[in-house]
Symmetry: C2
Amino acid sequence: MIPGKGQGAFPRERGDAMDTAMFDRDLVWEESLEKILELVEEKKFFRARDELVKFNAVEIAELLEEVTEETDIRDTVILFRLLPKDVSVEVFAELPGDDQVDIINGITDRETEFILSEMDFDDKIDVLEELPANIVDKILEKTPKSERRLINTFLNYPENCAGTLMTPDYISLQKDWTVREALDHIKREGMDAETVYTCYVKDTGRKLIGIVSLSTLVITDDDIRVKDIMNTDFVSENVYEDQEEVAADFTRYGFIAIPVVDNEFRLVGIITFDDILDVIEEEATEDIERMAGVIDFDDSDRTYLETSVWQHALNRLPWLLILMVAYVFTGMIITSFEDALSEVISLVAYMPMLMGTGGNTGSQASTLIIRGLATEEVDTGDALKILWKELRIGVLIGTILSAVNFLRVCFLDGHGPMVALTVCGAMLFIVIFAKLIGSMIPLIVKKVKLDPALIANPAISSVSDAVALSIYFLMARLFLGI
Amino acid sequence: MIPGKGQGAFPRERGDAMDTAMFDRDLVWEESLEKILELVEEKKFFRARDELVKFNAVEIAELLEEVTEETDIRDTVILFRLLPKDVSVEVFAELPGDDQVDIINGITDRETEFILSEMDFDDKIDVLEELPANIVDKILEKTPKSERRLINTFLNYPENCAGTLMTPDYISLQKDWTVREALDHIKREGMDAETVYTCYVKDTGRKLIGIVSLSTLVITDDDIRVKDIMNTDFVSENVYEDQEEVAADFTRYGFIAIPVVDNEFRLVGIITFDDILDVIEEEATEDIERMAGVIDFDDSDRTYLETSVWQHALNRLPWLLILMVAYVFTGMIITSFEDALSEVISLVAYMPMLMGTGGNTGSQASTLIIRGLATEEVDTGDALKILWKELRIGVLIGTILSAVNFLRVCFLDGHGPMVALTVCGAMLFIVIFAKLIGSMIPLIVKKVKLDPALIANPAISSVSDAVALSIYFLMARLFLGI
């Protein structure tokens, strides 16, 4: 969280702001980007800087990213160094990891020191996580001992857990304070705290015993004591809780912040909602990519364009290779049926449709279940209900698709009724089985504590292909006697 | 937003809360659920109620949902009516739309009136949107005229726009007030306002001219004037802005609330972050489902299990039927090659693999691009960069898969080198073309202002299947001379 992100505290006030606000911000941003790129092209960095500072930190960071992409990181570094000091710290916090590293390599040690000393603690940790170890060591050398210990603790939390999302900057209140004393304390501490919207009350053993929102403090009379208004029935997260679970709790309860405690229930930090917005988007992206058979081995925040060709290929190959093994079996099923196929070669023309429909209809079911599991709408305990539902959906869809295909095979393709029965009978059963397989595999994968989004699709593809072909050839034997 | 959702103002304080908080809340919740279900089974509603009220409103609503699912909505209505009045209002706001309608049908008009009068304005609108028109009319009759007009305005905003997410309850400040006057005003108004964390300053024409965060007010000296600390460079949304765009701005800037203005830049309401958490999740779910060929025609918040079999079938059929048309072409390609195929029938065994790999590798590319477009990581302007990247990825992956298959065809299946060359040559070009098609179609769909998630997959499936078969048969002609 950058200071002032809650709207209302961007440190600059600008004469032209109102004019801008009246129009479409995105349009203004686009126009300025073009102007800035031109100025950078002509090496008029000071005038480009003047254009930049018309925007807030988030937007300046986005503009600098574009400059890096369109021209060179060196131009970005020059522009960055020309920014007012206070702005540069905020902008730095908003830049992607790669650009942060490049900028640190391009500025002096003193500038790095200044930026890191001014940054919020959780942003600082994010930067240090991205930097090479030797630079981190150099930075830590110059850090006061107490903070160095804290930084090391934070750097050691496993990736994607609550500990890596939290900040140790929060407002602590004493339970015997009056509201007046509490508000005075916030006034003194406030500027440095990550968020002052929720305040925390600890006992003598640093255990969290209650929370008070700033809004409660503001609307309560001055002489009431904190302990009489604090909420003792709060939700907290363990420091090792997975970030996906933390995000689910934010969505579930709609909180602005959630306290993070260690195994002894001692308060170690807080997570604020703005960091969770990114997590929710990241987790959705990860699930979507996994469902399409793309595994992000890199596990970085790199965008599509920033990821190298090699990394892209590496992320996509495993699933394709696993399916190669599955296709050996599909091939064997077809080979064993080769003689019959050459007898009625027209059956081959329907293979893509039957296998494709099986795959598509199966993945419709699996996607709904995988997403339902992720948003906690369904659970492995609902297996029987889901099975019964998908059975009926499968019969319904299978019947309709079969009827449509009966017309096609007989009237469009001009085959006899027996070929039509083979194709349509196969279609009906393939759809039903694909729906059942597609809905059950994610539940089984979830039951054995693996990620359904990761495993389900290759498994469903291979099983449903083999099942589709087997059903098709069985129908051919039944109706055509081959 | 229910009152107190910011943690710290759930209206009850409970002796046993601390014990509960020490343990895993989910576990406690599960145990209580079992106990409540047993008590309901034995018709011991009062004791079930006593168990319920140990939880907060969000959790009580979840428990009641489970009761509805496991037993009967009538039991839920009985339990609901036994809840303390203030709790029942909060719980009601958290229930899903279907349950809200059932409860309103099961309680007296006076109870309905009480609940609706106590609810926050935006929650009330959500409920009224779900209710049948005749019940809405009955409720509106008893509403004061000024509020009735406001309700009608809100009910008339198109679905999924900023207007349906916002609340008119916000804190207005005068620019000439001192901080002390502002805080006193918040103290008087505060309890009823949706959120007090950001306050808004309007000019005499109701135009929004500045915003001040509560934290700024708290940490600023009492005699400073609002106009001297208000931020005039704020981000706002137009009332007709799509909810997806609004969510993107929340993620981009990390705001707690965004003001909503009409075309004349007059403040009409505010949107708070907690309503956006749901939107982000909904939009991700919609995209994921659309990518799998499931279109939610219902556009309701109904979960998988709540959706009827008919609705499920309806949501899934269109895409399957469109593909049926595509498969007619695939069939025609195969039929035109039937004679050659019956000559070298073993070629059929590789068809599923080649078409399947084409589809999978194409959908890997399309998924990354569709998601990239949704999160604004890539843009239609990046088309050339993407094309060049996917070309190289395609060559890399295609070469590796071809090499693996060369070994399979020659040594596992025992075919000659010409069959192997046919299959592997086809594989290489199919992968390359599938990557290019998969990455370009979403960009084209986006360019013509349609939703890439909705259109891209059927288009890619049909094109890539036809391309795969054509390449395969071309290779067969080239290497096998058939």
